[in-house]
């Protein structure tokens, strides 16, 4: 298991975090803070000595700034970056072949360790390519990376794509964590839900969440 970096979320998922050799999708509206899960997952992996690969369409500086806003710093322990700027390798969201090749090459060189991958570019890939192309790209990539001791986390924006595209993407992943805003009259409540998780029985239901400098607080939602 690979800890999410957030104790309460680990508990919800089934105890110790994301299952081994699994690919997990975080779905949520822009602005809700789902990227925080990427940061905590990476931070937790680095603390445990795992090899962490962070694939982003942003520059490294932007990701570091984002992580800092959640109270995290990657100054002492750093992931391997495939980023638009400032990374060891360049992330070109227009070139799927090169992206896939880069990820596989990096994994081959670090296959002696437990590996964590974050892909923070799925929405961009879906905007630039037909959904079928991305579906096939991910399918092939997941087949390849599951040969290693890997846990992959990816985020996708809710509301940016056609609903059927999101449904198709969710089918590909072993686990899906959903962040949504629910309205009831004048009240709007952000809630988290574990839709599915490979091999474990996650705690069903809706959960309130909030962010602080110490991490993310998840608690059962009381209506």
């Amino acid at each position: 298991m690979a800890s999410t970096g957030i104790a309460s979320l680990d508990h919800l998922i089934g105890g110790d975090g994301y299952p081994d050799k699994s690919v997990v999708l975080i779905v949520g509206a822009p602005g809700l803070g789902k990227e925080a899960l990427n940061y905590w997952f990476t931070h937790s992996g680095l603390l445990q000595g795992d090899f962490c690969l962070y694939v982003t369409r942003h520059s490294v500086q932007e990701v570091l700034k984002g992580a800092k806003s959640f109270g995290l710093s990657f100054e002492t322990r750093v992931p391997f970056w495939i980023a638009r700027d400032g990374g060891q390798l360049k992330c070109n969201v227009n070139d799927l072949t090169s992206l896939s090749f880069s990820i596989k090459e990096v994994l081959k060189k670090n296959n002696d360790r437990k590996i964590r991958i974050v892909i923070d570019a799925l929405s961009s890939l879906l905007m630039l390519n037909p959904p079928e192309t991305i579906y096939n790209f991910l399918n092939n990539l997941f087949d390849e990376i599951k040969k290693f001791d890997v846990v992959l986390l990816s985020t996708v924006e809710d509301g940016m794509h056609q609903p059927q595209t999101l449904v198709a993407m969710q089918e590909l992943f072993d686990g899906v964590v959903e962040f949504r805003l629910y309205e009831e009259g004048l009240r709007v409540t952000p809630l988290l839900r574990i839709r599915k998780m490979l091999g474990v029985q996650p705690e069903l239901g809706y959960y309130s969440f909030s962010f602080s400098k110490n991490g993310m607080e998840v608690s059962a939602y009381v209506k």
Binding site: S8, M127, A220
Partner: protein, 267 residues
């Protein structure tokens, strides 16, 4: 207390409903702001809330007849009331600015459309400078003994300082946002901007009717002021409603699940 005619009563009731609609739109902007975590999106929600207040005030200022309006329309306070319009339109530029930054964020290639990251600084400086000049001059001519003071300086410069704080926000919102939205592939942003564009169309239509009412009221050309004002009120209300839909469309909202399950408490 002036005696209100039936026509005035129609306007008072109509504008109370209109202002409530704009206030409701603002409420949704502010409400959603508190639920968002990322600063850029929080700012955008704040922007649409402020725009709703600003445009509501703008509609009231130009649509509600001055003879029954509680706002002063002449003298020193009248001057200051007029300057308040510049401040009411300022949130429009604030929201346009942050919307263009958000569109850049959601763009897969993060293109800096219209060189906005640089242009915005120049435009903000221009607006703030002209706003300060306008405010200072208005306060100056409103002071006792200065009522008859004539402002010195070329006409073009005076016109520039008056037109800029109004024209820049309106032009930026009317030209840049539709262009940027057309290029965007972000459905949520597009829906948010489409509702806003619809609000702008209704607002413009209401102003056209306002001008017609103002120009022809009491003449044979406009024999039925009730109908004209009714149409104007309807357009303003539609503008407020579209703004409310725009504010809600800033982020996908789902109906609250009825079969909510709580199996355990984690903390």
């Amino acid at each position: 207390m002036p005696t209100l005619s039936d026509y005035d009563v129609e306007l008072v009731v109509g504008f109370i409903i209109i202002l409530l609609m704009f206030a409701y739109a603002a409420f949704w902007g502010f409400n959603l702001r508190t639920k968002l975590t990322i600063k850029l999106y929080r700012t955008q929600a704040l922007g649409i809330g402020l725009v709703s207040i600003g445009i509501g005030y703008f509609a009231y200022f130009f649509g509600f007849p001055s003879n029954i309006s509680p706002l002063p329309s002449s003298g020193a306070l009248g001057n200051l009331t007029f300057v308040s319009i510049f401040y009411a339109i300022l949130p429009l530029f604030y929201w346009t600015d942050v919307s263009l930054l958000t569109l850049r964020e959601s763009d897969p290639l993060e293109r800096d459309q219209f060189q906005w990251s640089r242009v915005r600084i120049v435009l903000w400086l221009l607006i703030i400078a002209t706003l300060i000049i306008n405010t200072v001059l208005t306060i100056y001519i409103s002071l006792p003994g200065n009522q008859n003071a004539q402002l010195q300086g070329p006409f073009i410069l005076q016109a520039f300082t008056v037109v800029t704080p109004l024209a820049v926000p309106l032009t930026a919102a009317a030209i840049l946002l539709p262009l940027a939205a057309r290029r965007s592939r972000d459905f949520t942003m597009r829906r948010h901007l489409k509702w806003f564009a619809l609000s702008a169309v209704f607002l413009a239509s209401a102003f056209v009717v306002s001008v017609l009412v103002f120009a022809f009221l009491g003449t044979d050309t406009f024999p039925n002021p009730f109908l004209a004002s009714g149409i104007q009120i309807l357009f303003f209300f539609a503008a407020g409603y579209s703004l409310y839909r725009s504010a809600r469309a800033i982020v996908p909202l789902y109906r609250f699940p009825e079969n909510i399950q709580i199996r355990s408490t984690a903390s």
